[in-house]
Symmetry: D2
Subunit: 254 residues, 4 copies
Amino acid sequence: MSAAGEPIKVGVLGARGKVGAEVCRAVEAADDTELVASVDAGDDITALNAAGTEVVVDFTHPDVVMENLHHCIQHGIHAVVGTTGFDRGRLDQLEAWLADAPGVGVLIAPNFSIGAILMMRFAAQAAPFFESVEVVELHHPDKADAPSGTAGRTAEVIAAARRDAGSAPMPDATSTGLDGARGADVDGVRVHSLRVRGLVAHQEVLLGTAGETLTIRHDSLDRVSFTPGVLAGVRAIADHPGLTVGLDAFLDLG
Amino acid sequence: MSAAGEPIKVGVLGARGKVGAEVCRAVEAADDTELVASVDAGDDITALNAAGTEVVVDFTHPDVVMENLHHCIQHGIHAVVGTTGFDRGRLDQLEAWLADAPGVGVLIAPNFSIGAILMMRFAAQAAPFFESVEVVELHHPDKADAPSGTAGRTAEVIAAARRDAGSAPMPDATSTGLDGARGADVDGVRVHSLRVRGLVAHQEVLLGTAGETLTIRHDSLDRVSFTPGVLAGVRAIADHPGLTVGLDAFLDLG
Amino acid sequence: MSAAGEPIKVGVLGARGKVGAEVCRAVEAADDTELVASVDAGDDITALNAAGTEVVVDFTHPDVVMENLHHCIQHGIHAVVGTTGFDRGRLDQLEAWLADAPGVGVLIAPNFSIGAILMMRFAAQAAPFFESVEVVELHHPDKADAPSGTAGRTAEVIAAARRDAGSAPMPDATSTGLDGARGADVDGVRVHSLRVRGLVAHQEVLLGTAGETLTIRHDSLDRVSFTPGVLAGVRAIADHPGLTVGLDAFLDLG
Amino acid sequence: MSAAGEPIKVGVLGARGKVGAEVCRAVEAADDTELVASVDAGDDITALNAAGTEVVVDFTHPDVVMENLHHCIQHGIHAVVGTTGFDRGRLDQLEAWLADAPGVGVLIAPNFSIGAILMMRFAAQAAPFFESVEVVELHHPDKADAPSGTAGRTAEVIAAARRDAGSAPMPDATSTGLDGARGADVDGVRVHSLRVRGLVAHQEVLLGTAGETLTIRHDSLDRVSFTPGVLAGVRAIADHPGLTVGLDAFLDLG
């Protein structure tokens, strides 16, 4: 909660979108947050200021998000951002704006699922202790890309952790077989994509060494799985002035 | 047990090989079987006859197995065979020999693991009731082939069952991705091969339709997993004169 | 499809309930069924007759379902029933009514999930081939009963299959421990109930023998998982005159 | 490796035991360790000194381990200890001896499996971010205790992490059911024990919150799974003078 135990005053940008609407519901349901402004395309963004918004949550569109954030930073409103499309140039621009707004925090997070973030973190930490690491991701068959973005990133952080630790290449004696059987190669880490009706979004990291394996699995069964992460960002952003990329920086993992 | 509740008299061919030795131990350990002859390369095969062998178990080599079986069939000894290398020509030869030996049974089984056999059976039975079916096999990284022989056969029986039932092709909207991510294609069924240190031999068949999935998984954790199947074959072979291919014909699945 | 390839004319009783509404959607979406009547409490049931209904789907209430079925049977309309509360007395009554209506079929099914039905079927078939069998069911924490009804029934069919096969009691050397660690005992089969936020409805049957295990798992991720089973019932009921209990009787498992 | 890239000179106490023999094999197989002394009951422990032993690995018996360690500490030999039975009094005694032997390190580890240690670590770190956490452990049916020691400790560290974080009690609406269905209660964490033939030693921690679950699973398939952890201890002990309890203190998890 903010000072004096008052609920945090939250404004939602993109409030009528599917994701934004879930955020509004979650902000209203939590004891320590209060929804004071719901803004969408066509609405006047100064409604945020009129309502005394302390933190904005932005799930809008790459075309408008920079304008939204410029407004928030200028008016001392923290921002928790799930909109995509942030490249190096955009992040530099945000840092320049924030340099003139001491105390204001902006969180850009590609993923708000705490389960997915922990899966990636644990996979990277464990990877140097095992000879073999592979990634399996499982989704509904209407998904267009394979592997998923999360699986690709997971493989990259695993590969980076093993590079830093000086791990040997993984053993693989495969000499004959069918094309594709061993999956895709992402920085030396094998990634396998299943597409099965009835599934939602699931991922498993399988690590093995002599006589034992460790499996870290994340199952996302419902769209609402991002809301606890958004609320965690809303609660912590005031204590993290400046630009932060990735929700994991806010998760205190001891 | 054989008539009068006597234990079945079993001879093992290839008795000093790694697999044959396990068979000997299992035959000795079971109440209803008795090990009466252990024969390996260099030994005299007529030891089987001298010992009153009723059923032979053969885990030898493709080079000698036909000679072994000719001897057994001529002398009225049933045979349970795990040796590989049986093509159509060899099976025809066995049937010709058996035509002259009424009452003698020969079982040729590529796989004695009851778990693996049931996995394949159930996967084929269930496949027509689901929109999507994929196969994942997981082995130690010293394995040379990918996918495994069992995974390939599983995909084939799944494909055949769906063909017979007139099932639609499986949905898959993948339009962009990395080579190999979606696995190998075996008769239209996707097969994924993981190679991870610490694993032994594992396979999972994942079936899905609107709102639900069914998973059938087999874990083979120890070489001894074939012995219950061999004993099941030994117990049933006298009741199955002629040639049988595949242990599943002996499993009464109601 | 019915004669001449015409879609089957379906009426839904309880059409405005949560489940009934899903059934209406599924009947409309399928190529070989046509929704001709939607009836709920307060509506006139003779709308079924007026619309030429061939098959009724009933998801109503134990208080009204017998009256509904009496009407259907008298008018030669087949019925697929998901309403609960059928005891021996009610089933006897249905059989008496059906005796006077040759050709009419009624299916009473406690579970329309094809995945759940196959899980139970396969578990029972496999149980005699393994030394150990245990059941784990996993649900959201708002569920009132533990174990779930499906888990209890699964344990019962496993126990019955082992009794019929003369299987030995399962091995268990547990001599010290905490109360409850080994789960509940249902006819000699151990059943474990997990209650975890984020889960929907899941069940796993784990079977093991020397060196290998077989796992059969069913994940129900969405309420719509019963609709394929309801449609399977609608398509088959005309070919199954008289009373049938359990959808599995309609699943041709070769 | 020790100074100048020489292999570390290792002595094994309990060298002819099942575990000790595996340690000997692993020490001989690794490039950076050298087996210089193998001692068992009845042998003269001063063989360690004669061989220039730098690090001792002790897998002996509670009755003799303190005497072994006294000898090692007095002679400046580091020790990596897997023998059980260390209570507070014994640890205090070791610390007193070590106070007089600056530079000598002793590691007492109840568990050398890196997979098991990481499972516990990750479970404790993740536990405060989820509403529900339950533990399932699965072992062969010859095991005497339920739950396993590892499962009990895992539940304790989960409970402690949630206490420290001020987590709410876990939701559970169970109001009717069978005794034992919900498992054992260890500090408010539910623990379920399966006993199935064919299994070795396996454990799963299942964490869930709105719309998503995270599963951390450890499979120990072979007795050799402790050797990588023993070697990690041997390599690091010289850099950790004094008493250390638990191998996790040596695992650099960034």
